[in-house]
Amino acid sequence: MKWPLEPVRLMFVLKSVWGFFAVFQGCFVFKPTTKKRRLSEKKAHDFRSTSDDSEDTELRFVTCQSLWNQVKSETQRIQEDLNKQLLENLVSFLSRSHSDFQEKTTEWTCRMKFREIPTAALVLGVNVTDHDLTFRGLSDVLQDNITPYVALLEAKDCPGIKNLMQKLMGQLMNCDIDVDSLEDENCVQVSQNKIRCSMSSLTSWYESVTKKTDSETPSKKRNSSSRHWQSPPVVVIFKDMESFTTKVLQDFIVISSQHIHELPLVLIFGIATSPMIIHRLLPHSVSSLLCIELFQSLSCKEHLSTIIDKLLLTSRFPFKLGEKVLQVLINIFLYHDFSVQNFIKGFQLCIVEHFYSQPLSVLCCQLADIKKRAYSLSHEQCENIRRLPSFRRYVEKQESGKQVALLTNDCFLKEETEKLLEDLHVYHENYVSILRCLHVFTSSLPKYPLGKQIRELHCACLENRVWETKEYESSLQLARMLNKTDLVTMLQQCVEILMSSSGKEFDKAAEKLKEFLTQFQNLEVAEASQERDVSVSSQKELQKKTDLYHLQKTLLELKESRRSKKLTKFEMLRFEVVDYIDSLVRKYLVPADDRTLHEIVYFNTTTVLRGHLNAAPRTALHTALNNPHWYLKNQALKCDGGGISNKAPDICIVYKLHLECGRLINLVDWLEAFSTVVTAAEEPNADAASSDQVDDTIHARFIRAVSELELLGFIKPSKQKTDHVARLTWGGC
């Protein structure tokens, strides 16, 4: 198999193919019905298939929007929390870094040391897409607390030192203009081209700016000068250290180290891989000009765990992800991109898709609204409920009188629906608490048979009855071998979880666990005295008998007695505890698929999600060219059994013909085959006259189709043979 195009170019080519196939079904990135457009247009009828609103499209749209807004603000809050520590560390580093610059120390050692440029190496992990958010947060925090002079540089803007200086000066000087309001006359807005792009002009700019703030104390400036120091540092952030060329970085560092005494510069390197890259990019003579400190952000896996914990394992949001969908999202994260942003985007897509495709999603709302919404359902919606597989299973289990009522009486159905949905809500609350309890146990077992992370356990429980799996069996066995201290701490954790959960059924369970705890304590007291007796007596015996034979015998006896000994009290109790946890699991961790009306709140359509998130450009391209009917939906193009229809676009015909060729394609043969296919249906009996002379139009069409294929990268001109082109793809080698 061959694939001639680098990915970026591939996207470009795909776009042109899409333009070519005007009606495209969408198999790549996000289809154009994502949130943004809909939000900007503020039209609910995107959800609507027909003109009447029997399926509550408007309400669904509003619910979807408000839900997503909640989720969005929640994720933002979580991310801010997660970055807080890192940002605090950075801020304290920055405020420390030029403190001596402020005091204008002249001591020799200090002067020596402050030849170095303070530098923060910020290791952020390979999920480059998430970095933007961190940097934005960082620059906001810096501008609030430390300095108004923050410049963000990206490698793609800085191919040379000149561009870098231009970019830097542009950003710094503009930021100053923003702070001073624009009416300020003496601050002439100089266009970038007119400023001399050199460090010395930057230095003089800095001098003038700080001097101005010094002298100009009245009203306007007071606010900012209280937040910032008199000479605030200038922070330069290199967003993607790896992509910068060594030359640019080296030159910049050498130049700025010359001016470090007049311009208090601080560098921040955004690093995606490892801090070793600094040594790889900078020779010692340059890195010795820096005073580098390392800062590490939270790993993206932990970040994801927190997001899942706060978004999915909570009863705050009525919308839930099904097992398969969650698995797809997690797999994309773990296997492909490590990007939390993309995970959240995927989650957003699930929300939109659920509310778009499931008419009953109108009932996927907060508990308080369920009653109102259930009673205002239309007849069609009631029918929709009746069609739900889980509901049908439910009906079958009811007695016949109720069955009839459910299937014929809309009012009764609505009442029943409300009750069932409330049950579902309670189920979910309980589920989360018990899941956390179980996770306390499974996460400390050796080799983690049910997974180390709570998300793995969550998936396992959603998938099928967890207590029927082998892994669960082995975890229970392992749990039966836990030592006492571990078991006690786990029980304490479980009690805390159950006490803090909102479910009302857990008072009894918590009581029970507390009872276990007191029993363990009692055991401890009893056992301590008992054991002392045993050990003392056996030791006495050992001391008594001194010859080897007797010693061996007593040791064997001791061992024997231990093996055959009845279960101790502790062991009995341990069994009881494990059995109790097991009973809780069986009661509360029923998979969601078994619950009635789960379709309303659980989104489980993986095919749609896969189609959107796991784009397969090769397959799409091949399908488009090989079977144009798939995208064009034109009946005339429908062909069976691999034949070539002459109605297909020229490029498709050419493509199909070229599939039959080897590595080198003879252009003349190709043209003949093409003309045969094209003329075949048009003039079935006129072949005799024009067989050896190809029509000019057809010739032109052929040439155009071939150059289109060349543009797409399927073929290229070959120098090996005249009148031949080389095939580049799919079995061409």
Binding site: M1, K2, W3, L5, E6, P7, R9, M11, F28, V29, T109, M112, K113, R115, E116, P118, G125, V126, V128, K162, R196, C197, S198, M199, S200, E242, S243, V254, I255, A272, T273, S274, P275, M276, I277, I278, H279, R280, H284, S288, L290, C291, I292, E293, L294, Q296, K301, I332, F333, L334, D337, F338, N614, A615, A616, R618, E710, G713, K716, L728
Partner: protein, 426 residues
């Protein structure tokens, strides 16, 4: 009796100058004799070279400022284009002649303009009778600029017909400057390395690896407090060199491994010293070699490594199930006997990378856009590098740039025994 003697300058100034430039007296005296008296024409251009931190910049600066000779001092790295450089010289010239007077913006694109404007600027000043010195620091950068810049500076005296001397400072010898077409030969002068014997202990440890005076000064400053500690505590006196040596030696060795290599920053080092903690608590930059990658990125990187270090012909042997028994010795070509790891990574096409990927990953991998974008990500992370991308229709070619240790660490996390698949270790 001062070593420096010159009739043109007052003895007090010379004495002061001598105190400022220890170990460079002979060079300064040579320079003074070249310069001559203030109004005398000097050599048109002087080329001074020497190793890093041999005092070139410092000596020139001190000499010119102490004796109050009119001069312009420009760093060629900082003014990286000829236009910036020329304009900077003119600006400095204007500002030092006109004092507080507001300088008008200068536009100077070519050397011709420069000569004209230079004449004007000199004419404006009252220094027709004094030699003007233009010092170009890091002059090796001049070679990067237009071809006429360097020769023109060398004979600036002649071109402008003014009393001016250009002094070039560089770390590179003159032979590497000389243009093909030849040029005016400057007076060359060498600043030898300092062979200082002060702070013997520090040098004993660091002199083997570092001759950079700035760096040595920096290290001396950093570690001096620790050196003094026993004296401060009263455990030893200043003369007790042996005791002091014992105290400082392990400390300095540690410093060489950490702060000298910038593994930890100097302020962190100071804090450590202050708290009396061990540097072991603080991990250096190199300690954080671990890179977390998505699952398929790991396999892509492994596949890329295999493709870079295995000959193409061996792919069959490694990745086909029924490859037959081919001994390494039999099917090895002569040039392949040298280790591929010594030769460095070789470029490979994208399809080979994918083919290897498909055969080393257990489950089926669909060639989705996610896989392709991961390859691009690896390139931006500099773990792969793209080779020659002139022909867009030819498949792109890559090289794997990671080290064997790195890839082994990655392979271990996915339970892949990479050594078994490497031709060099067969």
């Amino acid at each position: 009796m001062p070593n420096l003697e010159h009739p043109a300058y007052p003895a007090a100034d010379l004495l002061h100058l001598e105190s400022l430039v220890p170990c460079r007296e002979s060079q300064v005296s040579t320079l003074l004799s070249i310069f001559g008296e203030r109004q005398q024409f000097s050599f048109p251009s002087v080329f001074i070279y020497g190793h890093t931190s041999s005092g070139k910049t410092y000596v020139m600066q001190t000499l010119l400022t102490t004796l109050q000779l009119p001069h312009v001092f420009v760093n060629c790295v900082e003014y990286f284009t000829s236009r910036l450089l020329l304009e900077e010289i003119l600006i400095q010239l204007q500002s030092c002649s006109s004092g507080t007077e507001q300088t008008s913006p200068v536009h100077c694109d070519t050397l011709n303009d420069f000569v004209r404007l230079f004449k004007q600027a000199v004419a404006n000043r009252e220094l027709q009778d004094q030699t003007l010195y233009i010092v170009l620091d890091r002059a090796e950068q001049l070679r990067e600029m237009e071809a006429n810049i360097l020769p023109a500076f060398l004979r600036l005296q002649e071109l402008t017909d003014r009393n001016v001397t250009v002094i070039l400072l560089s770390e590179v010898v003159w032979e590497l400057f000389r243009p093909n077409i030849g040029c005016f030969e400057p007076f060359t002068m060498y600043f030898p390395d300092f062979y200082a014997a002060y702070i013997n202990i520090l040098l004993g440890v660091f002199y083997m690896v570092c001759r950079d005076l700035k760096e040595l000064r920096h290290l001396a400053a950093l570690n001096f407090a620790k050196y003094c500690e026993p004296v401060v505590r009263g455990e030893a006196n200043e003369r007790d060199t042996r005791k002091l040596w014992k105290n400082i030696e392990p400390h300095l060795k540690k410093a060489m491994q950490t702060v000298y290599l910038r593994e930890i920053s100097s302020s962190q080092w100071e804090r450590l010293q202050h708290d009396g903690g061990e540097p072991g608590q603080l991990k250096g930059l190199s300690a954080h070699t671990h890179v977390e990658l998505p699952y398929y990125s790991k396999f892509l990187l492994i596949a890329a490594y295999l493709a870079s270090y295995n000959p193409v012909r061996t792919d069959k042997r490694f990745f086909l199930k029924h490859h037959g028994k081919i001994r390494k010795t039999n099917f090895m070509k002569k040039h392949e006997k040298t280790s591929n790891h010594l030769l460095g990574p070789k470029p490979f096409p994208l399809d080979r990378l994918l083919a290897i990927l498909y055969s080393i990953v257990d489950n089926r991998v669909a060639p989705t856009a996610n896989i392709f974008s991961q390859i691009t990500s690896l390139v931006t992370l500099q773990l792969l590098s793209m080779v020659g991308q002139n022909d867009q229709l030819d498949g792109p070619r890559y090289k794997c740039t990671v080290s064997l240790d790195f890839i082994r660490a990655i392979a271990r996390t996915v339970n892949f025994d990479i050594i078994k698949y490497l031709y060099d270790f067969l």
